[in-house]
C-alpha cells in the first residue's frame, strides 16, 4: 500500500479545514460552496479509504519503517515519529470515519442552513475528521495521543459551537476537562510503556512484549499499570464510569455533531485503542477490569435512559451504554466482535441522531418527546429510518443484534455474571429505545398548534443520508456477522488479533454453548422489551413528575453531577480562592516579604537615631565599647 494514498486520505480534510477556516469570510455568502468543500474533502478521504480497504484485503499492510513520514520529537535515547500503520483494523475505522463522516457532512449542508457560523462549522467538522484520522492511522501511541487530544479539541469547539449560549460553552468546557482527566492517565500510561520498552511504536512494543512474555517475567506489574492507565484515557474519551458525565451534556452541540463525534466515531476511540493494544491487555490480564467497567456502565446508563424525556439525551445515554458493550467485547478478548459492534453502532446510532435532528428541524428545535407524539404521519421517512435504527440496536435480525450477540456470547464464556448483566441491559435497551419511538412517533399528537402548522418532512439533502445509513443499519450485521465467530468480519480482522488470541487462549474460557441458543434468548429479550414499551407507552405519555423516590433518583441521573460538583469542583475552587490565594499567597508569603521590608525599615529607623551628630554621644559610646572589650579580654580569657 502506498504511503501517498494514506497522505492524501489524511491531508484532504485538513485542506478542507484550512479553506473554510481561513477564507470563511469570502465563502460566507455561498453556503453550498462552503458545505460542498467540506463534504468533498471527506469524500476524497472516503475514496482513498476504499482503496486502502481493498489493498488490505489483498494482504498489503503499511507498517514499520515504510510507514514513517518524519521524525517528530527525537533526541539522545528517544525517537518519536509521525508514521502510519494501516491494517484491517485501521481500514474498518477509516471506512466508518470517512463513510459516516461524509454522509453527516452532506446532511449538515441542509441542517446548518442559515446559521451565522456556517463556514466555521464546516471548518471544525473537517478538522475533526483530520484529527480522528490521525488517531487511527498512527503507528505509535504518541501519534494516537495527538489525534486523541485533537478530536477532544474539535469536540470542545463543536459542543460549544453556539457560544452565546452559556449551557453550550459549559458543556464544551466540561467535555474538554473531563477528557483531560482521561488523557492524564493516557500520558502516564505512555510514560510507563516507554520506561519498559524504550519506545512508543506499536511494532516495537507488541513485538517486545510478546517475545519477553512479560507476565512470566514480572508478574506483569508494569503492563498491568500501563494498560490500566491507558484505560483511564479510554474511560474519559469513551464516556465510561466514572468519567461519562460529559457525554450527555455534549448534546448541546449541533445534532450532526452528536451523530458524528459523540456517537459514531470519537467516543469509540477508547475501544479502538484497546483493540489495538490487544496484545498488552492479554499479557497483563486487565481485560476483566475493562469488561466490568463496560458492563456496569452499560447497565447504569440504560437505567438513566429509561427516565429521560429529551430525545437527544436518551440517545446520549444509550451511546454510553452501547460503548459499555463494546468494552465488554474487547475486555473479554472478543476484539473483532467489539470492533464489529463499534461499526454497526456507528451506522445505527449515527442514523438515529440524524433522525432526531430531522425531528428537531421540523419541531422548531423541540427535544422533549412529551410535546411530540404521532409524528409518524407527518414525517414518514424520518419515522421509518429512526425505527430501523432503534430496531437495529434493540431488536433481532438487524445489524446491532449480530454484533451485540457475539459480545454477549463471548461474555458468557468469560464470566456468566457479565453476561447476565449484559442481557438485562439488552432488555432495558429495547424498552427505553421503543419508549422513545412510541412516545415520539405514535399515539395522539401533543404538538403545540403553532409548531404543528409547520410540521414537515426534512428536505432531501437531509433525508437521503438517513435513507443511505438505514441500509447498513439494517443489513450489515447479517452480511458480515453471519456465522458468529466464524463470520466474514472475523476473517477480515483475523490477522490483527492473531497474536493476542494466541496469548489469550486459555485465559478467556472459549465461548461455549450454541450460538443459536444465545441468539434466540437475546432475540426474545429484545422483543419482550419492545412489547413492554408498547404496552406502557403506545397510548400513554410519560408522566411529568417522577413518582417514586427511586424514579426520582434515576431521573436525576443519580445526582452524579451534583455529587461531583459538591465533592470536587466547589472545594477546589474554594480552597484555591480562600486558602491558597488569599491566605497563603497574599497573607503568608507576601506578608513575609513585606514584613521583612517593614522590619528593615523599622531597624533602619531605629539605628538612624544613633546618628545624632552630637560628638559627646559618640565619645560616650566609644568609651563604653572599649570598656566592654577590655573587660572581655581581661576577665573572660
Amino acid at each position: 500500500m502506498s504511503r501517498t494514498l494514506v497522505i492524501v486520505l489524511l491531508i484532504s480534510p485538513l485542506f478542507g479545514f484550512l479553506i473554510n477556516g481561513l477564507f470563511g469570510k469570502f465563502l460566507k455568502g455561498n453556503e453550498k460552496l462552503s458545505g460542498g468543500i467540506g463534504a468533498l474533502a471527506v469524500l476524497v478521504s472516503f475514496i482513498c479509504a476504499i482503496v486502502a480497504f481493498a489493498g488490505v484485503q489483498g494482504g498489503a499492510v503499511l507498517e514499520g519503517e515504510s510507514g514513517v513520514l518524519y521524525e517528530w520529537i527525537a533526541g539522545e535515547g528517544f525517537t518519536f515519529n509521525i508514521g502510519f500503520h494501516v491494517d484491517a483494523l485501521t481500514t474498518v475505522m477509516l471506512l466508518v470515519i470517512t463513510g459516516v463522516g461524509f454522509l453527516i457532512h452532506v446532511y449538515s449542508i441542509g441542517y446548518m442552513h442559515g446559521d451565522a457560523g456556517y463556514t466555521r462549522y464546516f471548518a471544525y467538522l473537517n478538522l475533526f475528521v483530520f484529527a480522528m484520522l490521525v488517531l487511527v492511522l498512527g503507528n505509535n501511541y504518541l501519534m494516537m495521543f495527538v489525534g486523541w487530544e485533537g478530536v477532544g479539541l474539535c469536540s470542545y469547539l463543536l459542543i460549544g459551537f453556539w457560544y452565546e449560549k452559556q449551557s453550550a460553552t459549559d458543556a464544551g468546557k466540561k467535555a474538554f476537562i473531563v477528557n483531560r482527566i482521561g488523557d492524564f492517565g493516557f500520558l502516564l500510561g505512555m510514560f510507563t510503556l516507554f520506561a519498559a520498552f524504550g519506545s512508543l511504536d506499536f511494532a516495537a512494543i507488541f513485538g517486545a512484549a510478546e517475545a519477553n512474555d512479560f507476565q512470566q517475567v514480572f508478574g506483569g506489574i508494569t503492563l498491568v499499570i500501563a494498560t490500566l492507565l491507558l484505560f483511564v484515557g479510554a474511560v474519559g474519551k469513551s464516556a465510561q464510569i466514572p468519567l461519562y458525565v460529559w457525554l450527555p451534556d455534549a448534546m448541546e452541540g449541533p445534532t450532526p455533531v452528536s451523530a458524528l463525534i459523540h456517537a459514531a466515531t470519537m467516543v469509540t476511540a477508547g475501544v479502538y485503542m484497546i483493540a489495538r493494544s490487544a496484545v498488552l491487555y492479554e499479557l497483563a490480564h486487565t481485560g476483566e477490569v475493562v469488561a466490568w467497567i463496560g458492563v456496569l456502565t452499560a447497565f447504569f446508563a440504560a437505567t438513566i435512559a429509561i427516565t429521560q424525556n429529551d430525545i437527544k439525551r436518551i440517545l446520549a445515554y444509550s451511546t454510553v451504554s452501547q460503548l459499555g458493550y463494546m468494552f465488554v467485547g474487547v475486555g473479554v478478548g472478543a476484539y473483532a466482535s467489539g470492533i464489529f459492534h463499534l461499526m454497526t453502532h456507528a451506522f445505527f446510532k449515527g442514523l438515529m441522531f440524524l433522525a432526531a435532528g430531522s425531528v428537531m428541524h421540523a419541531m422548531a428545535n423541540e427535544l422533549d418527546m412529551r410535546k411530540m407524539g404521532g409524528l409518524k404521519a407527518k414525517m414518514p421517512i424520518t419515522h421509518w429510518t429512526f425505527f430501523i435504527g432503534a430496531f437495529a440496536m434493540a431488536g433481532p435480525f438487524l445489524s446491532g443484534f449480530w454484533s451485540k450477540d457475539e459480545i454477549l456470547h463471548s461474555a458468557w464464556g468469560s464470566n456468566p455474571a457479565i453476561y447476565v448483566i449484559g442481557l438485562i441491559t439488552a432488555f432495558l435497551t429495547a424498552f427505553y429505545m421503543f419508549r422513545l419511538i412510541f412516545v415520539t412517533f405514535y399515539g395522539q399528537s401533543r404538538v403545540e398548534s403553532d409548531v404543528a402548522a409547520h410540521l414537515h418532512e426534512s428536505p432531501p439533502v437531509m433525508w437521503v443520508p438517513l435513507a443511505i445509513l438505514a441500509i447498513p443499519s439494517a443489513i450489515i450485521g447479517l452480511l458480515l456477522g453471519w456465522g458468529g465467530h466464524d463470520s466474514a468480519f472475523h476473517h477480515f480482522t483475523d490477522n490483527v488479533f492473531k497474536a493476542a488470541k494466541e496469548i489469550g487462549s486459555g485465559g478467556h474460557g472459549e465461548a461455549s454453548g450454541s450460538m443459536v441458543l444465545f441468539m434466540i434468548i437475546s432475540g426474545i429479550v429484545g422483543l419482550v422489551g419492545i412489547g413492554a414499551a408498547w404496552m406502557r407507552y403506545s397510548k400513554r405519555t410519560p408522566s411529568a413528575q417522577p413518582g417514586t423516590a427511586l424514579h426520582k433518583l434515576v431521573a436525576n441521573k443519580y445526582y452524579i453531577d451534583e455529587i461531583y460538583t459538591a465533592v470536587f469542583v466547589q472545594p477546589i475552587k474554594n480552597v484555591s480562592h480562600y486558602l491558597l490565594w488569599r491566605i497563603v499567597d497574599t497573607g503568608i508569603i507576601d506578608g513575609i516579604v513585606n514584613g521583612v521590608a517593614g522590619a528593615i525599615r523599622i531597624v533602619g529607623g531605629t539605628l538612624r537615631r544613633l546618628q545624632t551628630g552630637v560628638v559627646q554621644a559618640y565619645i560616650v559610646s566609644m568609651v563604653v565599647g572599649i570598656v566592654i572589650f577590655l573587660a572581655y579580654y581581661l576577665f573572660m580569657l
Partner: protein, 523 residues
C-alpha cells in the same frame, strides 16, 4: 564579531535616539523598529552559521577587558543560549510594533529603555565571563525599572521597588558566589569555561550552589519566591509584561542550566528533592491560584509560575529528554505567554479593563482576535500539534524515565495538564463566549498592525508543534554536555528506587530462553 554586533546594535539604537532627541514620534519609532529588525536579521546569521555537531562555544570572542580585575570580555553561545538569543531578538521588534500607538508620554525614553534592555538580555545569554555576566544581569534591571516605573499602572512604584529589591537580594547572593568561584579559579580570573573543566569540585559547593540557585529561583520565579511577579505584570505596560514573561524569567532558568547544574552537579543532586518539590508545588499552586484570579494579567502571571515549574522540573531530571524539554519549554513559554500578554494588551487598549467580569461575548465582535486567542490558549495548555506539548511531553517523559526522583512527583506534575485546561478554558469562556453587552459588542477586531504583531508568533507556535526538529537538533549536543556532567557526578547521590526504575537493570529473557524454560517445565 557577529555576536558582538547582535548584542550591541540595539545600544547603538539607544545612542541614535538620544542624539536625535528632537525628532518626531514616527522617526523615533522608525529608528527603534529599524534597529530591532536589523538586529533580528543579523541574529539569523547565528542560526544559519550554527554548527549542531559540536559542543564548543560558537561565535566566541575573547578580549582583555579589565586585566586588573582578571575579567575579560568573553562571549559565545551554545545550542542552549542560541535559542534564547533568537527569542530575544525576535520578541523585541514584535514588542516595538505592539507598542506603536500605546505610548503616550516619553516615547523616546520608552524606546531607548526597550533597546537597552535588549542589549542587557542578550549580554546575559552570551557572557562567558562571570563578571561580565553579572554586569549584564544587573544592567538589565535599570531599563526594566524605568519601563514599569514610568509607563506602568497605578501601583507601579510599589511593583517596581518590589521587583528590583527581590532581584537585588538574589543578585547579592550571586555576587558572593561569583567571588568565591573567582578565588578558586586560579589564574583564570572570572572565566567560566575553565571552571567547567575543573576536576574535584569546589569547596563549599553546596553553599555556592544555593547562592546561585536562590538568585535564579527568584528570577524564574520558583515557588515561594514568586510574589513579585503578579504585581510586576499587573503594573507593567503590555510590552514590559511580554519581555518580562518572554525573556526575563528565562534568565533564571538559563542561569540554572548554565551555572548551577554543570558547576555543582553533586550539590544539584543533593538538593534535587527539595527543588523538585518546590517545582511541583509551583505547578499545582500556580495553576490553582491562576484559576481564581479576577484579573487577566494576574491569571497569566500565575500561569507562568505553573509553567516555569515544569521547566525547573525538566532541568533537574538528569535526563536528556527532560533537560532538552526544559530548554525548549523556555522558548515555548516565551512565545505563548508573550502572545497572551500581547492579546491581553490589545483587548485592554479597547476596553480599558483587564477584569474578566467586564468581558463576555467578545468572540462575536472580534472573531479574528478570538481565533488567535484560542490558538495561544491551546498552545499554553499543551495541545499536541502546538509548541507547548512538545516541551511538556519531553519534560514529563524525562522526569518519569530518569529515576532522579520519585514518580509521585511526575504524577503530581502531570495534574498540571488538567489544571491548565481548567483555568485557561474557564477564562476563555468568560471573556470570549456568551452574549456581549453593548460595550463589548462594539469592540473593533484586530487591525493590520496587530495582526502583524501576532502572526509571526503564531507561526512559531505551530512550527515548533509540528516540526520541532530544527530546534531540538541544535540544542542536542549542548544539552548532552549538561546531562553528562550531572549524571557522572550525581550518580552517588541518587539512591532511591521505584518499581519501574529497576526495569532497565533486569535481564530480560530472550524469546529462546522463555522457550527453553517452557520446555523444561513440560519435562
Amino acid at each position: 564579531m557577529l555576536l558582538s554586533t547582535v548584542i550591541f546594535l540595539p545600544l547603538l539604537g539607544v545612542v541614535a535616539i538620544a542624539l536625535l532627541r528632537g525628532m518626531g514620534a514616527s522617526a523615533i519609532k522608525g529608528i527603534a523598529m529599524g534597529v530591532a529588525v536589523l538586529t533580528f536579521l543579523i541574529s539569523l546569521g547565528l542560526y544559519t552559521g550554527f554548527d549542531a555537531t559540536t559542543t564548543e562555544m560558537q561565535f566566541a570572542e575573547s578580549r582583555a577587558w579589565i586585566p586588573q580585575l582578571g575579567t575579560r570580555y568573553d562571549i559565545g553561545i551554545d545550542g542552549i543560549s542560541l535559542w534564547l538569543v533568537l527569542l530575544t531578538t525576535f520578541l523585541t521588534p514584535v514588542c516595538i510594533l505592539a507598542a506603536w500607538n500605546s505610548v503616550e508620554k516619553g516615547l523616546s525614553g520608552f524606546m531607548m529603555s526597550l533597546l537597552a534592555l535588549e542589549t542587557g538580555m542578550l549580554g546575559v545569554f552570551c557572557a562567558m565571563d562571570l563578571f561580565l555576566f553579572f554586569v549584564f544581569w544587573e544592567s538589565m534591571l535599570i531599563p526594566m525599572y524605568f519601563l514599569i516605573g514610568i509607563w506602568g499602572g497605578e501601583r507601579r512604584v510599589y511593583a517596581t521597588i518590589k521587583f528590583v529589591l527581590y532581584t537585588m537580594a538574589g543578585s547579592a547572593l550571586m555576587l558572593v558566589g561569583i567571588l568565591a568561584l573567582y578565588f578558586q579559579n586560579g589564574d583564570n580570573g572570572f572565566a567560566l569555561l575553565p571552571l567547567y573543566e575543573r576536576v574535584g569540585g569546589f569547596t563549599h559547593a553546596n553553599l555556592l550552589f544555593m547562592a546561585f540557585f536562590i538568585a535564579f529561583a527568584i528570577k524564574v520565579p520558583l515557588f515561594p519566591f514568586h510574589t513579585w511577579l503578579p504585581d510586576a505584570h499587573v503594573e507593567a505596560p503590555t510590552v514590559g509584561s511580554v519581555i518580562l514573561a518572554g525573556v526575563l524569567l528565562k534568565m533564571g532558568t538559563y542561569g540554572i542550566v548554565r551555572f548551577c547544574l554543570p558547576l555543582f552537579p553533586e550539590a544539584a543532586a543533593t538538593y534535587t528533592p527539595l527543588i523538585v518539590t518546590l517545582a511541583v508545588v509551583g505547578i499545582i499552586y500556580g495553576a490553582l491560584v491562576a484559576m481564581v484570579q479576577p484579573d487577566l494579567k494576574k491569571l497569566v502571571a500565575y500561569s507562568s509560575v505553573s509553567h516555569l515549574g515544569f521547566v525547573v522540573l525538566g532541568l533537574f531530571t538528569q535526563h536528556h529528554a527532560g533537560i532538552q524539554g526544559g530548554v525548549l519549554q523556555m522558548i515555548n513559554h516565551g512565545l505563548s505567554t508573550g502572545a497572551l500578554f500581547l492579546l491581553v494588551g490589545m483587548i485592554y487598549e479597547r476596553r480599558h479593563s483587564r477584569m474578566i467580569v467586564d468581558f463576555g461575548g467578545v468572540a462575536k465582535s472580534m472573531p479574528i482576535f478570538a481565533t488567535v486567542f484560542m490558538i495561544t490558549t491551546l498552545s499554553s495548555i499543551g495541545l499536541p500539534g502546538l509548541n507547548g506539548f512538545v516541551g511538556e511531553f519531553m519534560i514529563l517523559l524525562g522526569s518519569f524515565h530518569s529515576g532522579a526522583f520519585s514518580k509521585v512527583y511526575v504524577v503530581l506534575a502531570a495534574t498540571g495538564v488538567i489544571l491548565a485546561a481548567v483555568y485557561m478554558l474557564w477564562m476563555f469562556q468568560r471573556v470570549m463566549f456568551g452574549t456581549p453587552d453593548k460595550t463589548n459588542a462594539a469592540l473593533p477586531d484586530l487591525n493590520a498592525r496587530e495582526l502583524a504583531v501576532l502572526l509571526p508568533v503564531m507561526l512559531f507556535i505551530v512550527w515548533i508543534g509540528v516540526y520541532p526538529k530544527p530546534f531540538l537538533n541544535r540544542m542536542e549536543k549542548s544539552v548532552g554536555v549538561v546531562v553528562t556532567k550531572v549524571r557522572q557526578e550525581a550518580a552517588p547521590a541518587m539512591g532511591h528506587t521505584d518499581f519501574l526504575d529497576n526495569l532497565d537493570d533486569i535481564e530480560r529473557p530472550t524469546a529462546t530462553d522463555v522457550q527453553h524454560q517452557k520446555e523444561a517445565e513440560r519435562k
